[in-house]
Subunit: 220 residues, 2 copies
């Protein structure tokens, strides 16, 4: 029953909630993320609160209700499964599938989704390393370190890249820092705000910490 706009708002609140440390998400953040005028976000969120999908404190912010979170996770599941499908089955580039999935996620029936899941052999992460919620709406969460915090000179594997900007993803790809790649952080420079990373092919890339913090790794 939920219109695709509703699904988008829920998905947005969900992801903003992670950025804002689980607390209330301010309306400004919702409006910005939805690329909508602030008044529009307020109106919509009030409507969502009305139907019990979010909890809204005027002038404070929003957070998902249990019901809203469940729905949001289903949308996220569709989104990530579609992304993986586009990469694995149709051969699209992982840097561009986020945008494509944005539309598709609202048009896919449960039946089709289930078939895609099967064809992909019930995967647990999407092409960016983001976890795919289970069909029951459970989200497995690993605690990962970013390139800005992991131990120096210790081999690690790229597990996740948290940014959907195609340009950035293409850069990550060119630099051999895509999920699955093994790398070593050689050094960090506080003053220069940089991190030097050696890829398995020997090349060293130096990243600013803003970028480095978007690349998450796990012990090898």
């Amino acid at each position: 029953m939920a219109t695709s706009t509703v699904e988008d708002y829920l998905k947005t609140v969900f992801s903003q909630q992670q950025r804002h440390g689980g607390g209330l998400v301010p309306m400004g953040a919702v409006a910005a993320a939805m690329r909508v005028a602030p008044g529009t976000a307020t109106a919509m969120i009030k409507a969502l609160a009305e139907s019990g999908l979010v909890e809204y404190e005027p002038r404070e912010g929003v957070k998902l209700s249990a019901k809203g979170e469940k729905l949001a996770l289903h949308v996220v599941r569709r989104h990530r499964l579609v992304e993986l499908f586009l990469v694995e089955v149709l051969g699209l580039d992982w840097s561009e599938v986020d945008e494509e999935a944005e539309e598709l996620e609202h048009a896919i029936s449960e039946k089709v989704l289930a078939r895609m899941d099967a064809v992909l052999k019930y995967p647990r992460t999407d092409p960016h390393g983001d976890p795919i919620p289970s069909s029951q709406g459970k989200l497995a969460k690993r605690r990962l370190e970013s390139l800005t915090e992991c131990e120096l000179n210790r081999p690690v594997r790229i597990a996740r890249v948290i940014d959907q900007n195609p340009q950035f993803l293409q850069f990550v790809d060119r630099s051999n820092l895509r999920p699955g790649a093994e790398v070593v952080v050689k050094s960090r420079d506080e003053l220069a705000d940089s991190v030097a990373v050696k890829s398995s092919h020997g090349a060293v890339v130096t990243l600013g910490s803003a970028s480095a913090s978007k690349i998450l790794v796990e012990a090898v």
Copy 2:
């Protein structure tokens, strides 16, 4: 730019145009096919005429303009390619893919469509035997006979089933009359309004001519 509602109207006018022998399609037919109140259809068609997608004669009917037909064919292409993809790649049943494709056809980008086309090896017909317009918007049209008109006792191959009703398609499937099957029309009875068809496995099915006319065949 065309909204998905616009695409649906164009697709509807396109298919109604074939049923109504290429002439003007009366508004009632559009409204019925779109499952919409007559006034709604009138308003929408006037808007489409305004933007040059259809030619509209008040109290007469509508037909697609060159521009509108081109767009309609692109929509039909997407629809049929998606249907085939759902059957071939995801393993859905051909009786149910029409409904599924109805949503998907509006959410698929050109890029994804092109990849699907490639994965399917540039097919020329969908699971129901309906021709898939080329990416340039050309629709190959074969002249096919239906079971109500082909020669008796001559082996023919089912080429196309013109009805998207899942129940009917399942019946066709059960009766071994799906596209590709070879059959022979054994007899017709004008008074009983029936056609007796023998499938390649020997079973004989008797159809009313309303149903028989929806099954098109070609010489073997």
